[in-house]
Amino acid sequence: MPPRRDNDFIDADSESDISILGDDDLDTRGGKGKGKAKAGDKRKRDKGKAKAKDAQAYTWEANYTRSWETVQEDEAGSLRSSVEDWMARGRRRRLLAPASAIRRTIIRHLVLLLDLSASMMDRDMRPTRFDLTLQYAREFITEWFDQNPLGQIGVVGMRAGLGERIGDMTGNPQDVLRAIADRHKLEPVGEPSLQNAIEMARSSMNHLPTHSSREILIIFGSLTTCDPGNIHDTLDSCIKNKIRISVVALAAEMKICRDICDKTGGQFGVALNDGHFKDLLFELVPPPAQRALSRAAGAGATNPAADLMMMGFPTRLPDTSPPSLCVCHSEIKSEGFLCPRCLAKVCDVPTDCDICGLMIVSSPHLARSYHHLFPVKSYNAVMAIDHAVDSAKGCHGCSRPFPVAVAANTSEGLSPVGRYRCPECHRDFCSDCDVFIHDVVHCCPGCGK
């Protein structure tokens, strides 16, 4: 566990972290500028307490602390500094992403593989790895469906040496969330078995069409796996089936996990702390670029993973129509959607028709995916104000006036003058709008497209 004590972790301002550092450290690490005043302030307040806690050098010896409750406000009572940290992280992430439009897999199928072995009861993440995993999994699922409205998720658990089907592959976020809602049914026990669980996930994706992605996301808290056979055989068949496996490890890097991810074209990451765990997970929300998929498939891949799909656009029944039974739940309802091929009535779209199997979507569902295909170019941080050019006094998005003063020291990727410029329309935006436009709106107000 000691590898956890690296810089990233110390930056997360929980009380226990601060007690790791001597008082001098606190002053010298003010390089980021904004954490300084707050840390100093806290230090005064905690002086007496910190002494008593000196002996307690490791996180897992600390009491239950929630870092998000101890940090937060600076003396002005705002969340500025932690928000800025978060924004800087987001900006860096976006800048790393390729700017040009790349092909992405829009129809996704994902199996979420949860480690439910005894090691998940470890308390190095608060309250336990298991509880945190469930909490993040819920957030992940909500966000994932929001960005991949045509996708489907299944849930498989690994515990007591077996793979265990927890939730069937479905396109309805509520069904997936319900599958992992009851934590008592998921109580961690025994050893995990990567091979058994991956085999189970693989078998549930065998029948899927080739134009959709097949992905497995493993949240793995253990350092061992207890397999009935050779896991490399399983790996080979996953490669053959073009299944992309990503692993978020909570403990440490394992050779086999790294291999699985590398060979199937997935991502591997070891979570350093709570925040990093969430980052790793949410990096997997946007649809994967297809070029990686074909690379994983190898040189012999003749199938360009593109296909023509037949889809039905249903007729929506108004609330005033006479009630009838739906085919999905057999409940009497007025509203619903009629499958255009067999005219069965389903409650919700997108779905596969329960009767004829036609994929039923409504046009807004298709539209919800378009922003992955036509992303907004990321804005450039304006480093200095050129008075000859910069006539705009306020943000082009929300009209808030830009700060007049130049911030003394800002972290990498942030503009000292608080301006971010669109490379297309050359308008300036404030940092709030920058984040909002790229993460939510997906449309530049200046360009209008």
Binding site: G77, R103, I106, S324, G397, P445
Partner: protein, 373 residues
């Protein structure tokens, strides 16, 4: 329902000079003309009633001019100094009225006399309104602990956007408008639409439907103020009681990219999600070639028998009700369907099972991987 805090209204006005000119023309073509001046005076009366109905109400006004969008007024930003305040006017009204009129005339003068009118920047105005709401939402949520913020200030209560549109749909703005709708959903913003002149706009109908707002097509333009006050003055939380008109006939079927006709079973490119009304070998949008096997398979499992091929290749464009009947006749040719659309609660199941027997060849075909055979 929050009684302590006011509601926020962002107004987006479509200021296309061309459309307003048409709207102001007289009876032979236009039974109820409405000029821009008349519109503005009724609009200001509406805005004044919004400001007057609660002290805490906030207001922002955005104008969509040809080729650009501007914020005309915002009650959260300090307004520029007023030189000549009329002693007989109520200052808050005067502030709103004079600012909006001044900004509109400034912008109109800036427009000059272009040879060809650029399309109205409705998308720009809409996204700006969203950015503005996002900003004031952020501002209220970060000052939660401020005593002035009130007990429940984590969210701006009932933010809403009212779009007053006179222009027809612009097909290039489909994706940005849909993106704006989805972000409005995320921010829990209600979008109301009043189409004052011209034809129905499908995009804005969808915007209102997907965000839980109401869409009103103005038949009697002379009654604009009446409509505005009856339908759009109350915040969304109160509308449940007032039963404001919503539209029910909204249609979420898609138009194919090749003929722009409405399809109910379409063929979609998995790369760019273009929609076609028949299987095509190459996607016309992204130039992706589709596997030959897929084409064979799709052609084989087309919903209509080959004899009625012409029928399916030319999708029906009539009303949804008529369409439902006609396609049910095609698919089933008799009895049970009528039962389904009118009475029998088991209709859905019965209709489905009959199709199951009749067309066993199509069942589950779509999701078989081609190389599985």
């Amino acid at each position: 329902m929050d009684n302590l805090r006011g509601s926020h209204l962002s107004l987006v006005i479509d200021m296309s000079p061309m459309q307003w000119h048409l709207s102001g023309e007289g009876p032979p073509t236009n039974a109820y003309p409405l000029t821009l001046d008349a519109f503005l005076s009724q609009l200001l009366a509406f805005l004044n009633s919004h400001v007057a109905s609660k002290d805490e109400n906030t207001l922002a006004v955005f104008g969509a001019f040809p080729g650009r969008s501007v914020m005309l007024y915002s009650s959260t930003d300090p307004a520029p100094n007023q030189q000549n305040i009329n002693a007989n006017s109520f200052p808050p009204f005067e502030l709103v009225d004079s600012n909006i009129i001044r900004r509109i005339s400034e912008e109109m003068e800036d427009l000059g006399e272009p040879e060809e009118e650029a399309p109205c920047a409705l998308v720009g105005a809409l996204t700006k309104a969203l950015c503005h709401i996002n900003r004031i939402t952020l501002a209220t949520s970060t000052t939660v602990n401020n005593p002035s913020g009130g007990p429940n200030s984590t969210n701006l209560p009932d933010p809403r956007i009212l779009i007053l549109s006179v222009s027809p749909d612009l097909s290039t703005s489909y994706i940005p408008i849909m993106n704006s709708i989805f972000s409005a959903q995320k921010l829990k913003v209600t979008i109301d639409v009043c189409q004052i002149y011209g034809s129905d706009t499908v995009f804005l109908q969808q915007a209102a439907h997907l965000t839980g707002g109401s869409y009103i097509f103005l038949d009697r333009r002379d009654a604009l103020l009446q409509y505005l006050i009856m339908a759009f003055l109350s915040p969304p939380s109160i509308r449940k009681i007032l039963s404001v008109p919503t539209q029910d006939k909204i249609d979420f079927r898609a138009a194919c990219f090749c003929h722009k006709s409405i399809v109910d079973i379409g063929f979609v490119c998995s790369v760019c999600l273009s929609i076609f009304c028949q299987p095509v070998p190459v996607c016309s949008t992204c130039r992706t070639k589709f596997p030959f096997k897929t084409l064979q398979r799709l052609n084989a499992s087309r919903p209509m028998p080959p004899s009625s091929n012409s029928n399916s290749a030319r999708p029906r464009t009539d009303t949804p009700q008529l369409r439902t009947i006609s396609s049910s006749e095609l698919a089933l040719s008799s009895g049970p369907m009528n039962g389904m659309t009118t009475t029998a609660p088991v209709g859905g199941l019965a209709g489905g099972s009959i199709v199951n027997k009749r067309e066993p060849s199509t069942n589950g075909k779509i999701h078989e991987p081609p190389e599985a055979r």
